[in-house]
């Protein structure tokens, strides 16, 4: 019998790749997102997670972006504050000192990290239901809020954000993804205005609510920005319900393009024209819809060169009843949706998926996928839904022959997962994950990939000179006898999350690179010969 419990049960005979150690790594650290009844859409998306080295000790730290409740909003109280936890380098964290304390905003959603004032330290942007906020890093000692003068206009409901250098001036710019205009006073209640799903009364939206345009901000290099959304033609004819963002150079022309996932509407691919403007080419390139031309309810984005053709591929997570989409680069500049051909479609249909990452989790030299799952409707546990509220997270392991096999991501029980971010938290060379539930204990997934003879790796960090400090937007190519891998430096984690600015290569049996080629955002190419692996390599941009 096709029972949801069976459909959503763990798959795969072997021990899961990841071990969930959240209770030990971040004891008592929980997030909030409204009431457990989930009567309003504002209570659905959960918070955000930002990974990066804020105190400059070489270990990955984590910012947990927390939400609020409608009761707090009604009383005029601020939301639960974002919190920084400093990494110990073993996958566990300790609360940062008072200098790092951040006041609560209205209702935190996601975040992005980057050096926006060019001082070499990682700064922070928090997206909110309400005004988005900017915090400068004071030399690794603490945060200083500069929201009031930062120039981030808009106060609707922002979800994801990403740093990029779209005009290649060496100063970080910012894209902010907006969802919809939400007002609890006028928002319809479950069951009103046809807010039903599979015969059950559920929260309303996003259909019937008003979408809000995304925004593009040009950085001045001092922590302030100016909105250039219209000037850059970064505006579609109609606003969409934006949720996820990915930066990538999809056409490999040296400048950064932007991909945005939208809920129940076509996704957008913004092609950088190289003159400070963008053109929306989602339909033309085949990444706006599923293969049938259906607009999906899209959330997270994974990005990487899965097929090794030198161009990035895009994996997009979707609502239950829809398959996730895998847009694989094809001839010309187009993509083909290949979730079916790669075995990704079927296992995704009963699940509602969020944070996802297309990286090499098992260090065998090809890209795998992590997918966080959890429904938005608690009513998913009622009869006849073919799904459930809590769901198991998934690891799709690349078989190296064009197909993925599905496994349980970890030993953790099913949860109502949302955003996630990757980093090598324990310094062992493989990529670990931090994942949020819609509310509750923050989870940390330690990767148990076997390193060694057939599982080599290399992490590459960049230090820009004419380019931005972390080389965001740089292309990094690892070459060895008989093969190569390409990746980009980007910090967006796809959905309400951010990852460290580094390139990670799983190399399998390759124990030495013939060369590493960096194409900096400044346009300069740099070649490093004969590179040893199984280490963190820091590459500095040469002087002109």
């Amino acid at each position: 019998m096709l029972h949801a419990a069976i459909l959503l049960a763990a798959a795969g005979p072997q021990a899961p790749q990841f071990t969930e150690i959240g209770a030990r790594a971040l004891p008592g650290v929980v997030t909030h997102c409204g009431s457990s009844a989930k009567n309003f859409i504002i209570e659905a998306n959960g918070g955000g997670v930002v990974l990066g080295d804020f105190d400059g000790d070489g270990k990955i730290d984590v910012v947990i972006v927390d939400g609020s409740t409608l009761e707090r909003v009604e009383k005029g109280e601020s939301g639960f504050p974002p919190r920084l936890f400093l990494g110990r380098g073993d996958g566990t964290f300790t609360p940062a000192g008072p200098g790092w304390a951040i006041a609560g905003g209205r209702w935190g959603m996601g975040g992005a990290a980057g050096d926006i004032d060019g001082d070499g330290w990682l700064d922070l942007v928090i997206t909110e239901w309400g005004p988005n906020r900017v915090f400068l890093n004071d030399g690794g000692k603490g945060f200083r809020e500069i929201t009031a003068k930062a120039g981030l206009t808009g106060s609707d409901w922002s979800t994801s954000a990403a740093f990029l250098d779209y005009d290649r001036d060496g100063k970080l710019d910012l894209v902010v993804v907006n969802y919809l205009a939400f007002d609890p006073k006028t928002a319809p209640k479950p069951g009103q205005e046809g807010c039903r799903w599979k015969g059950h009364d559920v929260m309303c939206g996003p259909e019937g609510l008003v979408p809000v345009h995304d925004q593009l901000f040009r950085g001045h290099g001092d922590g302030t920005f100016e909105e250039v959304t219209l000037k850059a033609h970064f505006r579609p004819p109609e606003a969409a319900f934006g949720l996820g963002v990915m930066t990538l150079d999809y056409d490999d022309d040296g400048d950064t393009d932007i991909y945005i996932t939208n809920d129940s509407m076509a996704n957008h691919l913004w092609e950088n024209q190289g003159d400070g403007t963008f053109a929306e080419v989602g339909f033309r390139r085949g990444v706006g819809h599923d293969a049938n031309g259906k607009e999906q309810a899209s959330m997270g984005i994974g990005c990487g060169d899965w097929n090794g053709d030198g161009r990035d591929d895009l994996f997009v997570t979707n609502f239950s009843g829809e398959s996730d989409a895998f847009y694989v680069s094809a001839k010309g500049l187009g993509f083909r949706e290949r979730s079916s051909a790669t075995g990704l479609a079927g296992p995704s249909i009963p699940r509602l998926s969020w944070g996802t990452h297309l990286v090499d989790f098992d260090l065998d030299g090809d890209l795998d996928l992590s997918v966080m799952n959890g429904h938005v409707y608690p009513q998913a546990d009622l009869p006849g839904t073919d799904t459930s509220y809590a769901q198991g997270d998934q690891l799709f392991r690349n078989d190296g022959r064009g197909r993925f096999s599905v496994e349980s991501l970890s030993d953790a029980p099913p949860a109502v997962s949302r955003a996630s971010a990757w980093a090598d938290l324990d310094g062992d060379g493989d990529l670990d994950l931090v994942g949020l539930q819609v509310e509750g204990q923050v989870r940390v997934f330690l990767n148990g990939a076997r390193t060694g003879e057939k599982a080599h790796w290399l992490r590459v960090r960049l230090r820009g000179r004419d380019s931005n400090h972390d080389g965001i937007g740089a292309r990094v190519v690892a070459q060895w006898s008989g093969g190569s891998q390409r990746t980009e430096i980007r910090t967006t984690g796809g959905f309400q999350s951010a990852v460290p600015a580094e390139a990670h290569f799983g190399l399998g049996a390759v124990d030495r690179l013939e060369r590493l080629v960096v194409r900096w955002p400044s346009g300069r190419d740099q070649v490093i010969e004969d590179v040893t692996v199984d280490r963190v390599l820091i590459v500095e941009e040469p002087a002109r």
């Binding site: 459909l7 599979k198 015969g199 051909a341 006849g384």
Partner: protein
């Protein structure tokens, strides 16, 4: 949308149970309270009572006209035909509680659950149907569709193969098998099966569209174009063929044609999205007048005459003598240039609303337009006679 296409195609072909005659007594709409429907919707078909071992062993022989179906079965069939699925479910649970495992009841329950997009429940009912009536496997493509709809392509494939072993010309099972092969990474096999579908049913729009998509994915754009054009010609109101055409034409460098197809797709898709949303709500709330009216308006906006006709039938069935609805039907069909449909609507208005002055006022205008002088004069006289001062 894929599943909706799939479902609509299926619905047109469902029905091993004899339909009740049109004039059979039916349970009035008000005869069932909302809580009864809610209770039925919250039930799990796995909890139905089981029949005694061998109770339906001779099912094929016993289902003759001499043996009337259990109470409620005819009414359930009518409810299904009239698209009142919650009511059908109440009645079917009644049938199966009193006559456990009654095979036609299990079958119809599976179909109803499938239409409600409750695929796990559909599979549960149909698996039991198959257990008590294994000889009827050839009629159980919906079980394959149910497995398919939850992404279990391996199981769906195996079931379609069973169906086809018993009923080799079962087109929808063949199409389902093709799609399973596609999902299992066997594009060429999928194309072969779609080819067989199109041999059996050359006007199978959906299969032309799938063929176009598969060929496009294989970078065989010229062949894909032919298939997409065929799909578009067969059903010009479906957005999917236009979507494929737009993608294929742009891929072939036919910029102007590709962009035009893209615009057509966007217009149709916007309406189709609304139609899907309304249809899915109507499955649970089949008598909601605002939804039924909106459906008519949507089909009118895209110029889809066949769909508008069907939507109008559903609308006026709710209030057959409502003069405003009858006038709306005439307005819509006349406005869409559907002379044949407008004539039927005018006749119905005349017959069903004989004592309504508004009906004759509208008919006077209608006959003026069609140039039927006598009818026009008569309608005018009736209008002026009935109209209150």
């Amino acid at each position: 949308m894929r599943k909706v296409f799939f479902m609509l195609a299926l619905i047109a072909r469902i029905g091993p149970v004899q339909e009740a005659p049109r004039d059979a007594p039916s349970v009035p709409v008000d005869g069932l309270h909302d809580h009864q429907k809610m209770t039925a919707l919250r039930r799990d078909p796995r909890s139905l009572p089981r029949s005694a071992e061998g109770r339906w062993k001779n099912f094929e022989r016993t289902t003759t006209a001499a043996e009337p179906p259990p109470e409620g079965m005819r009414e359930a069939a009518i409810a299904i035909r009239e698209r009142d699925l919650p009511r059908a479910l109440v009645l079917l649970y009644g049938v199966l509680d009193s006559e456990p495992d009654y095979p036609p009841g299990l079958y119809e329950m599976g179909v109803v659950y499938f239409r409600l997009q409750r695929y796990g429940d559909a599979a549960a009912a149909l698996e039991r149907f198959l257990a008590v009536a294994p000889a009827r496997v050839g009629e159980t493509r919906v079980l394959g569709h149910s497995y398919y709809s939850v992404g279990d392509y391996t199981r769906a494939k195996a079931h379609y193969e069973r169906v086809l072993a018993a009923a080799p010309r079962e087109v929808e099972a063949l199409r389902g098998l093709a799609l399973c092969e596609m999902h299992l990474g066997e594009a060429q096999k999928a194309l072969d099966f779609l080819g067989r579908v199109l041999e059996l049913e050359p006007r199978h729009t959906d299969s032309w569209a799938w063929k176009a998509q598969l060929l496009f994915d294989l970078d065989r754009s010229q062949e894909a174009l032919v298939a997409a054009e065929r799909a578009r010609d067969l059903d010009p109101w479906q957005p999917r063929p236009w979507f494929l055409l737009g993608r294929i034409l742009l891929d072939l460098g036919r910029e102007k044609d590709g962009l035009a197809a893209q615009v057509r797709y966007r217009n149709l898709a916007a309406a189709a999205q609304d139609v899907v949303s309304i249809e899915s709500r109507l499955e649970y709330l089949p008598h909601e007048m605002p939804l039924l009216t909106r459906l008519v308006e949507l089909h009118r906006s895209t110029g889809n005459v066949p769909a508008a006709r069907k939507a109008l039938v559903r609308l006026v069935r709710e209030r057959p003598t409502d003069v405003d609805l009858r006038i709306l039907a005439l307005d819509v069909l006349e406005g869409m240039g559907d002379a044949e449909g407008a004539r039927v609507a005018a006749q119905a208005l005349q017959q069903r609303c004989t004592e309504e002055w508004k009906a004759w006022q509208r008919l006077e205008r209608y006959y003026a337009r069609t140039g039927e002088k006598l009818q026009r004069v008569e309608a005018g006289e009736r209008f002026r006679r009935l109209k209150p001062d």
